[in-house]
């Protein structure tokens, strides 16, 4: 065995905690990689995109919308494209290379590669959203079928798969709440939305974007949203409660039905942010707790790729009372003919939340995942996620410097928000420092959204995807970093040491004068080329 492949030494204490897993020696690749716009050469091409099949009934692009000049896209062969993106993938802590236990509330469960075969099938890949309805009966059938499955999983009456995930889905639900009270003539009176500090910030942001005032509840001593604060907050101005359960602490609120009842008694609606549904899948249902609306993020719970502003898919589910306000078009089945149609004639609808009928590839993946598991499989996935989480909790809570705020000694659902407050007090290191050192072991973790209610937070969520060996390795990495923090804090403070890029300046991410999310913006802002 060469020195570079030698196992990192493990102390007896960590060996006891972590069951002696070997910490892999990780080194991120560093390529002198150009932007794809700087690669290729004029005239070079990879694939020829076929013309649309005239039989699909596609309308021609109106002359006024056609380009006069070809788009300024890079011109290069397939092989160049492949090499470029393979190299980039090695400069990242990619999901397919790592134990993504540390993604926290942004659940990164395994997306089975087999489901990509369905998406690559020309019957899906070659679809165009402007095709005639009678040429897309198959995909409308999949959407309708997925809606039926999600109705059963949530207990609700109607589902829309048009919105994006996360904030887009929450905003859709808030828009429906607004439309509901507008239709009743109560919108001027009901202008307040209640949420909690451990719910996703998108709940507050979406409510505010939709014109509501936001009231935030803080946790009580046990970490549950303070029910006395809820009682003080509700009233004739209450439009809705937007709440996550389990919250991002991993604590399930056992009084959720009481919360819903208090809000209903004040005349408000209740919307369930099911971003953390992975651990309650097939065990609890939003409707059974009395909710009027809920949403799922398909990437979090139904095993599709994560969004990050891209191809995310959400599912908004509502009771019959709120169904008139769903986004349009809806997918309708004519039971007599067995055909599907898109219903765009919905006068109460909040309108289109996304073009056409959603992110079809992810709807196909989610449908395939649910169908492959069945009801028993979904429940088993949730139970495994909870078991994995509590196995990891048992190991991590033994690491020096870590604590588990709230509900002492009790198990959690599918994630835990830990605290490095003790380690911070002892060493001066922050949770962010630990996370950056974790990158040196080929993995990472997420702290928490702001504000940090739990000091020096770390949020871990193993999901059902990871093996016991994976969890042992992850716990051992954290134990190793904690040991370093106490014995050699400079190593942690100056991490990462084995990554392509050292610490990123976060202020640039918040500065519109610097950030560049397109090639054109990069040339203007970074290269200083005028006139672009």
């Amino acid at each position: 065995m060469t020195a570079s492949h030698a196992p990192v030494p493990v102390s007896p204490e960590e060996a006891r905690i972590a069951g002696k897993p070997r910490l892999r020696r990780f080194q991120q690749a560093s390529w002198d990689e150009k932007l794809i716009f700087e690669l290729g050469s004029p005239g070079e091409r990879g694939v020829l995109v076929p013309a649309a099949d005239p039989s699909l009934g596609m309308p021609a692009i109106p002359a006024a919308l056609r380009r006069s000049d070809p788009p300024a896209l890079p011109e290069m062969s397939q092989q160049q494209v492949l090499r470029h993106y393979l190299r980039l993938s090695q400069e990242n802590l990619g999901a397919d290379l790592n134990i993504d236990v540390g993604q926290g509330t942004c659940t990164m469960k395994y997306s089975p590669k087999v489901n990509d075969q369905f998406v690559r099938d020309p019957r899906i890949a070659a679809l165009h959203p402007l095709q005639d309805e009678d040429t897309v009966q198959g995909v409308l059938g999949i959407i309708h079928g997925l809606e039926q499955l999600l109705k059963e999983i949530s207990g609700m009456d109607r589902v829309s798969l048009q919105p994006g995930a996360g904030s887009a889905a929450i905003y859709t639900n808030v828009a429906m709440i607004r439309a509901y009270f507008a239709a009743r003539g109560e919108l001027d009176q009901r202008d307040e939305v209640i949420t909690t500090i451990f719910s996703h910030p998108s709940n507050a942001a979406c409510a505010k974007t939709a014109g509501f005032k936001v009231i935030t509840l803080h946790p009580d001593a046990d970490g549950y949203p303070d029910i006395e604060a809820l009682r003080a907050a509700v009233g004739p101005r209450t439009a809705a409660l937007l709440i996550t359960n389990p919250e991002d602490t991993g604590i399930y609120n056992p009084r959720i039905e009481e919360f819903v009842r208090i809000v209903h008694e004040a005349g408000g609606l209740c919307s369930y942010d099911q971003a953390n549904a992975n651990g309650v899948l097939g065990i609890t249902r939003a409707r059974d707790a009395g909710f009027d609306l809920c949403h799922f993020n398909l990437h979090k719970t139904f095993s599709t790729p994560h969004a990050c502003g891209g191809p995310a898919a959400g599912a908004c589910a509502v009771t019959e009372e709120l169904a008139p306000y769903l986004p349009r078009p809806t997918v309708e089945l004519d039971p007599e003919t067995g055909t599907y149609r898109l219903d765009d004639d919905r006068p109460g609808s909040v309108g289109k939340m996304r073009p056409f009928y959603g992110v079809v590839p992810n709807l196909v993946r989610a449908y395939a995942w649910i169908m492959s598991l069945g009801a028993e499989g979904l429940r088993a996935a949730a139970e495994t996620a909870v078991l994995n989480n509590n196995y990891l909790l048992h190991k991590v809570r033994q690491i020096p410097g870590v604590s588990v705020p709230y509900a002492a000694g009790r198990p959690r659902v599918e994630q835990v928000r830990y605290s490095w407050e003790k380690l911070h007090q002892d060493t001066g290191l922050h949770s962010e420092d630990i996370g950056l050192r974790a990158a040196d072991f080929g993995t990472h973790y997420w702290t928490s959204h702001h504000p940090y209610v739990v000091p020096e937070p770390m949020t871990l969520e193993p999901t059902e995807s990871y093996t016991r060996a994976d969890l042992d390795e992850y716990a051992a990495i954290l134990a190793e970093i904690a040991r370093e923090a106490y014995e050699d804090p400079e190593t942690v403070r100056t991490a990462p040491h084995r990554s392509t890029i050292h610490r990123v300046r976060p202020e640039a991410l918040d500065d519109p004068a610097v950030w560049a999310v397109s090639w054109r913006a990069y040339r203007r802002k970074v290269l200083g080329e005028a006139g672009r």
């Binding site: 507050a204 936001v214 935030t216 006395e228 604060a229 809820l230 504000p451 209610v453």
Partner: protein, 384 residues
């Protein structure tokens, strides 16, 4: 026999109600008295002793001996609480008391041997006690501050005089599992204040019975709140007040909010602004004392809790007295301003009230909306 030591700084807190800030030095105390300030420290020390005696029970009361100095330095408070004293020091007759008297009393008291030393005062008094006792580890007995000062950045104080009595009873009973912890003695950093920051300096530690929530946390340094958060809070305040008077408590949050509204107010004093939509605010009072505030008439009162401690009333803003609060309209006219980050850093501990008026504190207790941004509030608990 249970022996409790007591030293009272009789001028502590004198400057609070009349808007002078701390009362360090005899000149400041005399000025405060000339402005109509009334001494409070003795009565608050008596309240702490009374609570201790009540919790100790009738039978234990006879076995409780308070070792202290004569007159205003302690014996008056012991008499007011109806307890037995043993006088071990007396200040010279007919002169102002000073820090030297505090130190001499502390040394004489601990030389007698006590189970706990109470001191009634503020951060300056805590520094005097620390100076007389020495370093942690060699301090001969546990110490607990009865809060009577103005600034109160240190962590050696109970959250109120009654809480001091409660904590002392729990410690002396040896039954509640109360441990000692070394708590910070802090004082305002006057150099930083000159640069526009409210921050504290650490002077040392004293061993204090650790009863969470009943013993206060130290003040954390002010951190710059983001312009978005402060701007949002300012816009919300402007909308709520509309056309009217706004009294602004001290602190970096309220000062930043005033700046966002277009007014430059003091960092440590209480100021009053006249607001009118569409017009810049007009400053109608600077560094106002209780009397000035009462003379202003109906006003909204905007306060921000002390970072780390959570004190909303009774620390650093004694000018906003029970009379001022009642005259303003109580709970309905109180605007609590705080960024979500500062609120979260309290770790779930409530915002604290110690106005000296138990009935008012009880009336203000419970959940109150805290303005955290434009059209954003957090429902947060206030407690006495």
């Amino acid at each position: 026999m249970t022996r409790v030591g007591l030293v009272v700084n009789p001028v502590a807190g004198l400057g609070g109600r009349v808007g002078l800030g701390g009362t360090d030095g005899p000149d400041r105390a005399r000025t405060a008295l000339s402005l109509g300030a009334r001494p409070l420290a003795g009565a608050r020390a008596a309240a702490a002793l009374g609570e201790l005696a009540a919790r100790a029970g009738e039978s234990a009361r006879d076995g409780l001996l308070v070792v202290t100095a004569a007159g205003r330095l302690g014996a008056d408070s012991v008499a007011a609480a109806g307890l037995t004293e043993r006088i071990v020091y007396a200040a010279g007759a007919g002169r102002d008391t000073s820090a030297a008297d505090t130190a001499a009393t502390v040394r004489a008291v601990v030389a007698e041997g006590v189970d706990l030393l109470f001191f009634a005062g503020g951060d300056g008094t805590a520094r005097d006690v620390l100076g007389a006792l020495g370093s942690p580890g060699v301090v001969p007995c546990p110490v607990l501050g009865v809060p009577t000062g103005v600034k109160m950045h240190s962590a050696v104080f109970a959250v109120s005089p009654r809480a001091a009595g409660e904590v002392a009873a729990a410690w002396l009973a040896r039954t509640g599992g109360v441990r000692l912890r070394d708590a910070e003695v802090m004082d305002r950093d006057e150099d930083a204040l000159g640069e526009g920051r409210v921050t504290s300096r650490l002077f040392g530690w004293l061993p204090v019975p650790d009863v969470p929530v009943r013993v206060q946390q130290r003040k954390t340094g002010s951190t710059a709140a983001s312009p978005e958060a402060v701007g949002g809070i300012a816009a919300e305040v402007a909308e709520r007040v509309g056309e009217g008077l706004l009294v602004l408590g001290p602190g970096s949050t309220t000062r930043a909010v005033a700046a966002a509204l277009g007014a430059d107010v003091s960092l440590t004093g209480v100021d009053a602004l006249a607001l009118r939509p569409g017009h810049p605010p007009r400053i109608v009072a600077r560094d106002a004392g209780e009397d000035t505030l009462l003379a202003l008439g109906p006003a909204w009162i905007a306060l921000s809790p002390i970072g780390g401690q959570g004190f909303l009333l009774g620390r650093g803003n004694q000018q906003i007295s029970p009379r001022v609060l009642r005259a303003a309209g109580g709970r309905e006219r109180l605007l609590v301003l705080c960024t979500e980050t500062k609120l979260a850093a309290l770790g779930g501990r409530p915002l604290l009230l110690d106005t000296g008026d138990d009935a008012l504190d009880a009336e203000l207790s419970g959940h109150l909306p805290v303005i955290t941004g434009r059209r954003r509030t957090s429902l947060y608990r206030l407690a006495m």
